[in-house]
Amino acid sequence: MNLARIVLAYARRSPLTTLLNLALLTLGVATITLLLLLTTALDERLKRDAAAIDLVVGAKGSPLQLVLAGVYHVDVPPGNIPLGEVEKLRADPLIAEVVPIAMGDSYRGAHIVGTEPAFLGLYNARLAQGALWKAPMDAVLGADVARQSGLAVGASFAGSHGLAQGGELHADNPYRVVGVLQSAGTVIDRLVLTGVESVWKVHEHEEQEAQEKHESEPHAADAGPGGREVTMALVRYATPLAAVSVPRRIDSDTSMQAASPAYESARLFTVFGVGTDVVRGFAVFLIVAAALGMFIALYQAMDERQYDLAIMRALGASRGRVCAMLLLESIVLAAAGAIIGVALGHALLAGIGAWLPAASSLAAGAWTLVSGEIGVVALALAGGILAALLPAWRAYRLDVAATLAKG
């Protein structure tokens, strides 16, 4: 005979109630855990992608769009900027590095980015095979692109027009794979890199065609009438002080606009943070409902349990001991719900990662614990203790002699 045996015996006595409360608690804890893991992974992801980029400079428009297009590559860029203006930025002593990027085409949904080798440094990327681009139409594939397309060094492919899948193929200007990058765990894994000249070359040709057809449409990085153009420039400051003056100067003195990835992604996070707050609130509600269910189950059981508790007192159990027994019963249930819930939350994330390829990078850390989970477990345990407080108080105050006599 031991305490665990007694606690288990009571849990088994009303298995349906026990399982229902356990299920409610587990679902609540699993939901909060999943959200916690997802927002942590997303936050880390956003920070890692933008870690080395202090400023994105591009055409005037939405600063959020600039960041989404230029840093995270999930949106189309607002327009082009003159290469000449970008070159002027390089002379600024407050700026350590300027990396121009030219976009407009994609390969199987992966953006083809015309840039300089310094781009690799911004994302901590290294070559796994081959070499960097030297001639126009040389391409280096990000790790995910190489894996999904099966292309290796020496292969060639045609980019398609536009940044969405299904654009017209530039079949007459195929790219040649000269290198493949190691997986960096950042957005660069999903990009195709080439020289800026390659993008110009593809679209010069197109420009001619367009002129022949008397069509005129705005498109990507191009040789416009005012000279060469690029889509954006990624800027790294020489000193943190630059944040004070450089963006303002770009916005007022040039035709371009500057956007800070840190600021814009924080803004983005607050927008959909409201959504996660709602789901989190719902999960807390589930936990509270579970605690309430546990309370009602325990309290109702007290009418029957008082005789058991009275006989335990008669057999030598102190007031404190019968109280502790009730509390422990509730805490054990809450702890079981918390542990199963946390495990389920992790398993769900791993499942989502396995199921949806787009989320696989977020699910990479599915089995690492985050600090917020301590709070979730504490919340569940607190619910368990609160649920048992009133029944425990009743047990403490129990009139043993009267209860045994009235039985």
């Binding site: 005979m1 031991n2 045996r5 007694i6 015996a9 009571y10 088994r12 006595r13 029957e304 005789y307 058991d308 009275a310 006989i311 335990m312 007192r313 008669a314 057999l315 030598g316 159990a317 102190s318 007031r319 404190g320 001991r321 043993v400 002699a401 045994l404 006599a405 039985g407």
Partner: protein, 211 residues
């Protein structure tokens, strides 16, 4: 063995129990008689250390019970008192054997499973050990409750109306089982009952006057 002097207990001002003096020696068998409402159950609760009377002295063994702190009194009761309530109160979620083992567990005396099984066999319900109490007959449940009361070898074995729901033959069996088990562990037996059928089995009787 025990001595009660000047015991009075009041519920909300009403005198529910008055015992000027009652002494018993070790191994004696007492019938505690009196009409319903005379306070027999209350007096058993006082003897068991479950109730502190409004006035008086309670000595059991060498112990002055009313001098003990609550936790000490609980511990003392677990070790030295075997109590068979009228409704038996076996714990429905525990098996017969676990009901038995609960007593040494709560009293903090180490009793082996084998000893508990042997005791069940001795009171004639050895084969019921794994069953749940709700599957037992009244007579079987009473045997289990008596075994639970004596498993810690108490100084004092108390039973409240043990024959109230039984026919003549079973009532006699219940009393003989109680006296047998009290003798086996050397306990003083006190049976509270207003059942005239069992008077002959008790050499000593203490009568509580009706109010």
């Amino acid at each position: 063995m025990f001595a009660l002097t000047g015991i009075e207990h009041r519920y909300g001002g009403r005198l529910a129990l008055a015992v000027p003096s009652w002494r018993a020696s070790r191994g004696e068998r007492w019938l505690l008689a009196g009409p319903s409402g005379s306070g027999k159950s209350t007096l058993l609760a006082v003897l068991a250390g479950l109730l502190r009377p409004s006035a008086g002295n309670v000595t059991v063994g060498e112990r002055d019970l009313l001098q003990l702190s609550d936790p000490d009194l609980d511990r003392w009761r677990g070790r030295h008192v075997g109590y068979v309530p009228q409704r038996l109160h076996l714990i429905a979620s525990l098996s017969v054997l676990d009901n038995l083992l609960l007593a040494p567990y709560l009293a903090g005396t180490g009793t082996e499973r084998a000893a508990a099984e042997a005791l069940l066999a001795k009171v004639g319900v050895g084969e019921l050990a794994p069953r749940l109490p709700e599957t037992l007959s009244q007579g079987q449940a009473q045997r289990v409750a008596i075994a639970r009361a004596v498993i810690n070898r108490p100084l004092l074995l108390l039973a409240d109306e043990p024959t109230a729901a039984l026919d003549d033959a079973r009532a006699a069996q219940a009393i003989s089982l109680l006296t047998e088990q009290a003798d086996a562990v050397g306990a003083t037996l006190v049976v509270a009952s207003h059942d005239a059928r069992i008077r002959g089995a008790f050499p000593q009787t203490y009568v509580l006057p009706g109010s």
